[in-house]
């Protein structure tokens, strides 16, 4: 989970990139950074924490230049350390090179071992650094070296490179992660999502295509397609949860897709007059399924788990005609950076963030809508909260199928052993959560809503275990990738607390 942005040829490159990172903050809250190029030299500023914590007013005087790339990070590989904060910046014989990466490589470990045997030393514990070592050892010109290096890597990558001469954007041939191109007068902008283009008031031009490489230099843009064409595999979980609702993603607005997921779910759950509950059945090997029975559900309210469940709940309410209600208050004072000093409150967890409206929900039969269930622990706490205030019936409706396997392409899902739906029947989950009935959207329903009538290639591996690429066995091991990297240990001093004072 990361977000990237690049600005080429603008006199406030760093400021614009910073503003764009602000809009991409939901893609990564652990670290942030910017690299600019000024008079042929690359300048870097990175730190742990939110964009607003990493960049203090005086940061920008150290970041002059007309081009910039930026990154927000939530660790997928590597440990939490400022050494892993991106953009990464390297000196090579051909000069300096910065890289910002969204995605995850699936053969990084093998490549890393090969490189180390040939004397390479790694300075971060990120998979992204593998790409730069491959480039460093390639003696051909930069663009060719990048192409030849990327031909060796497998997995998901939306990449931005910045050298003293040019900015280069590449998206992997599967197109796992989004990457869009924008225009701001004479400047080019590349970003993970369109919401970043909007905030800096630049115009959306088009997506960078899967397998496309875009080189921007001196105000000109050159596009290459250097990789063999393969089926697309857009991450469908970006639609379900990850992307920002106001972004236009893979051609459609995210909020609208989510609302449609809610409508689809309502249609699946509520039999049309004279019909039967459609895809909701527990025989389905994966996905849509029902704990308890559906027939005869009568509900008073559709209530979303804020904020992620709101669009689907709206769609569900609109389709079903059941009244929508905001049954929870979400506190704005419990951010990620807040470390609770009291154990008693750490145990509370979600209670500090959400409070249920007793007077509104008491005695009611509700459809509780959320986008997905990962471990089930948070959902369970929310449901207990509802039980305490005497909600009469709780029917949980999830606007995506059960998550049964981890993502190796950049979403920070836990290992299979921690995924509740990978290990338990729908009925067991229903019991664990303590709801009267539990409903998941079917895969078919998900794909229908996500495709919106178009011919689309999606990666649905987290719901289906069907990975679009080879998956190295090492990835499946607990701890994965480079956790034995001693440099990761540096984290002790570059803790969040320190970075917060940058």
């Amino acid at each position: 989970m990361c977000g990237i942005i690049g600005i080429s040829n603008h006199r406030n490159a760093a400021q614009l990139a910073y503003t764009g990172l602000f809009a991409l903050q939901h893609r990564g809250q652990e670290a942030a950074g910017l690299v600019t190029v000024h008079q042929g030299k690359l300048k870097i500023h990175v730190g742990m924490g939110l964009v607003s914590q990493v960049f203090k007013p005086d940061a920008f005087q150290h970041l002059p230049g007309r081009s910039a790339i930026g990154h927000v990070r939530y660790a997928t590989t590597g440990e939490s350390s400022v050494k892993n904060a991106q953009p990464l910046l390297f000196t090579q014989s051909r000069g300096s090179l910065a890289i910002a990466h969204n995605g995850n490589l699936t053969n990084a470990q093998e490549l890393k071992q090969k490189l180390e045997k040939r004397g390479a030393m790694f300075q971060s514990s990120t998979d992204s650094e593998v790409i730069v070592h491959l480039i460093a050892r390639n003696t051909r010109p930069l663009e060719d070296a990048i192409i030849e290096s990327l031909r060796q890597v497998e997995g998901a990558y939306s990449l931005l490179f910045l050298s003293s001469q040019k900015m280069i954007a590449v998206r992997d041939p599967h197109g796992f992660r989004p990457l869009v191109l924008g225009r701001l007068n004479g400047s080019y902008v590349v970003a993970s999502e369109t919401c970043a283009l909007d905030l800096i008031k630049s115009k959306f031009v088009r997506e960078i295509e899967p397998g496309e490489m875009v080189i921007i230099e001196g105000g000109y843009l050159k596009s290459l397609k250097p990789f063999a064409e393969i089926p697309k595999a857009h991450c469908i979980f970006e639609y379900v949860y990850f992307a920002r609702p106001d972004s236009k993603l893979f051609g459609t607005n995210v909020h609208q897709v989510r609302r449609e997921l809610g409508r689809e779910l309502a249609r699946e759950m509520i039999p049309p007059p004279g019909g039967s509950v459609r895809t909701i059945n527990s025989q389905a090997p994966l996905g849509a399924s029902l704990g308890g029975g559906m027939k005869g559900i009568k509900a008073d309210l559709v209530v979303p788990v804020p904020d992620s469940g709101v669009p689907a709940a709206l769609g569900f309410s609109q389709e079903s005609g059941i009244m929508f209600e905001m049954g929870f208050i979400r506190s704005h004072y419990t951010g990620r950076t807040f470390i609770q000093p009291l154990q008693s409150l750490r145990d509370m967890g979600v209670e500090l963030k959400l409070s249920a409206l007793k007077e509104v929900l008491q005695g009611k039969r509700i459809i509780l809508v959320d986008d997905s269930i990962v471990r089930g622990t948070t959902s369970r706490k929310i449901i207990r909260m509802l039980r305490r205030i005497k909600v009469k019936e709780i029917h949980m409706a999830i606007s995506s199928p059960p998550i049964v396997s981890p993502c190796y392409y950049g979403i920070d899902t836990p290992q299979e052993s921690e995924l509740i739906a990978a290990n338990h029947s729908i009925d067991k989950i229903r019991h664990y959560l303590g709801v009267d009935s539990l409903h998941y959207l079917s895969l078919k329903g998900l794909l229908r809503a996500a495709s919106a009538g178009r011919e689309m290639g999606f990666c649905t591996a987290c719901f289906t275990r069907e990975y679009p690429t080879r998956v190295s066995p090492v990835l499946k091991e607990p701890g994965s990738f480079m956790t034995d990297d001693p440099k990761g240990e540096i984290k002790a001093i570059f803790s969040k607390k320190v970075a917060a004072t940058f």
Copy 2:
């Protein structure tokens, strides 16, 4: 705007009070503090910033004891300085005394001058300190001294005192600010709102009544009514905006009152079949009024300004049958403590916090619902944002009457000269905001929804200029109260940045 909490006779008094403050954070984000009593001595910990910033894990080891009072502050009088953070703690000849105050005194300045002439020296620039000086100069026992002192002050006060012996709660005879009593096994809890009782899982017992004084000592509670009975004047703005939606206030749940305000507004705006638009007319001496004409409004969506407009928009949608839609995304990464380093982004302001969903709103006719308009500047920015994405028609619906005069009882409204509705006609405001029509709820409608069929006494001074107490002319002067207090100058060093490291 402040919140207070007291815990008597619990072994984790400080931790519970801290947790309660967390639930009261919306009542004040500028400073926070706790005082406990341990072995006859009072311990204090105060600081600038959010509760989570002021209290770090090691704070509680300095706060032992079985009783505690706490406070969150948003400055109404006095400057922003740690010297003004409450609880205030004083040594007097009868021992130590701490005070936590929600409200605002209207004759503090006169009393202060009198006291200074008699040799008193003030250590804060808050009106609350006046009370303590009066008590210090009263030689009678503490309870009597408090009563005699409070008989001299005018205005709004929900107060908590903590001495080495007892905890005392008092609410002014008008009952401006809320104050509730709760029970947690053998302990008593007093708090500004019931949401604080809920979070610490204590039971709501009843409101502390207007004019009531409650003394809690050694596990026993004593109630006195030492003041002459006068008409009640509950702050109606607590219902409109200030209190937390999940609190039960003056006998009713806040979210439900707000939803009812939306319903009422819909009824006022949309003529019943064959009827006419009811209270929406510009002849009304105050409040409900319409810029543009109402007849024939046809709207596609009811859209709240998040989060304050959500409950009223839900009610409006339910009453009118017009579809509810979340047309804005609210960022969770722009807190109060975030100081934007770039001027360009400071200018953005609300754009960083809210983004409008273009695909959802474009080409639509919307009812934009908010709870109130103060200066009008934020509303205007939001409306411009909507215009940029080509919303077809914007009809703004405000779930309270126009604010025409400042609050002297503890809500931090600006002076009259800055209140847009105090100085401009509804039609002028409509032009300024750039909406197609503008509608305020009528005072009658407001009172109907707030009273919920009961006989209630409300302070509606901000909508009507009718103040329930004498208002000293000095209060109307810009800067008010004690701004010439040199001690206020200490703020230079106790800036927010410093306090964040406490």
Copy 3:
């Protein structure tokens, strides 16, 4: 132990006062502060820590004005808290008033109790605040109110007041603590020591006389002598240890007095040809005395304990002809503000600060010179260090008499029970320290060197138990003064660590 400075009528008043405080840092390292007056308002900046820690570059923009008073504090009364950092600033009916105090009042507790009974509330736990409360309750003009108030207090005070109109300096009639007047072009400077005048390149004019009150206003200076004349009691310990060697104090340079103390000590210890060891005998009623026998001492080197023993050791060497040697290296990296993270190193203590030169001292017979012995613990550690490197003989020579009683006039000596010489014979001390012989300068010798031929009145209470004033029994109690003041508890949050970030 404190230092004060005042600047009147200079456009860089705060900067000069700050610079002066820098030179007075040895008088107090716990807290520092400045108050300026600008356009009739008083501005304050105080914090815990060294002058260089409390004042960061942006502090001065909040301290405009042509007059300033400053203070460095090492707690004598009151606890360690930013509430006690001076100058103290108060609002009274006659306007704002700041006070900076060096010294200690001996009847503060009685006065405080009286004031509290009359309704006064104290905001610090310093004795200095008593003076301001007395002034606040006096309705006469400021100068008269100060005089009448000071007539009620007993003890030691060198004071600076700053009001919106004038700067006032007062020295108590005994003249315990120093206070000097300087001139810098058209400006007046008042400071604890001449070294502060030197650093800001102002000219020494004269001492403020004991019992004198100097009012500086509008560039003019007025001198009053409002107190009855009484015998002088200059603190002789300022000469022995406390004042800075480059200051001119009570008319003589401190380094020269200290060198003379060493010469005097040499004369006492080493019999003139044909004579006998003079004052070194244990029959002396106080002070000078010898553990072991003196006759026949033959020493190779005179070695000072750095830095306090250096001047006396130089004098001793010059008088005795025994070679002076720097036998210790003093580390410059162990300041007061350094909190050792390892217990093992905290135990080391003096070893981190001093290291003995083995090659220089091994096998030698040395005269080890220090200025005084308080508890004896540090001396003992130093001597053990010397024993470890096989110094052959150690003859300890102290350039003052044994300290037998605490100071109540502003020097932070411990209670009598902790003073080694108050409780043990010279011979016992010699055994405890582990030296071959131990020699103190006689009181007569001390007075001879300090007087330098002049008629001088000194306070020698710490050596003689003869206090120049009445001493309230409460002062002799452990913990003294105001330690039950709950406001002192505020220290928990204003810890040194916090202040370091000011």
Copy 4:
């Protein structure tokens, strides 16, 4: 200028190494760090600032293990950045490796370019990293790889390596920088200076010999001499200024050498009865020389510039019979970490640190003794200070020859263009400084005192321009080494101010 320490096989390895670094603080105040090995993994903690600032109490819980190496750094090559703080820690195919380096390589730039052409990427801008890249590309076992790598580098290096298995110490064949071996019960200690051994109470065993490699593993020590024998070149400036006076260096105590330098200087300056001023003459091609004439100098006092001039001044006084006097007070409150907020005080510079004793020096003829003159700016300020207080005659005596060329072996001398004696005659310097006469010790005198009768090989390049190794022309360029390294730019965020909060 750096200091290193290693502890092998002790249960408090990190704590001991930390304590040792404390004693080595004078060798580097810019950054500090420790690496330990625990259960086969290397743990690191580094930061900018003093040892006491970098290591806070909780640092040690992250540094378990029985072996540790530590480093204090004052930048010689590379920029000031936490990336350059040592020990450096790397992952290689053979596992993790940490390095701590005192010294400077003279062919680092050439080696770096070669390595980068072969795909190496550097993570710091230190010369030390070159060594590790060479080792990483060597496929032989670690010890052999180190030997073969070091055979390729030229210059000065006292090195400590730490792998998961062993600690390795190496000293270059010239023996430029010191390195000593100690014993603490069953543990081995390696350190830059014996003062570190003393502080942790370990026994000095012997020097690590020039060209020696010591491998410590499992409690056993193995010594190799893998390099061809070449003439020794001990840095003579360690004796003159750099090492701590209480260390035993190259076989002799430093304080004693310095005192002897003063004696030698006195002998050179003061003609023996009937003789002539010996080596003090301006015809000498380098070094000892005299501005003004010597004959007839009559001085009242020998006064050192504290602290560096003290030992030589003592020796001078003892040899000449002229009275020694501490003519300056050195403030203990002006550390390196103190950034003066006022420009006016930054201009003061040395005045804040030193104050001259007017009463002691006024009207006197003094010999002012210092160890060396680099740029001359500080000496000039000191002399002006003396002139202001009317010192009658100032004869400056420097206990080493004129510094005429930079050090490329690890002492941070400025470029030749900034060395006053490289560009000006002794007489010109005398005028610039404003002294009555100026005297440098002759090279012959320096060598005589430093050798103390032994056969010793010294590097005297800074006094003679005779470098013991080839000196790459690139070293002589301003800015030197790797300043175009973009990673150096990271310094913007890791500024001193930040690091102070580590």
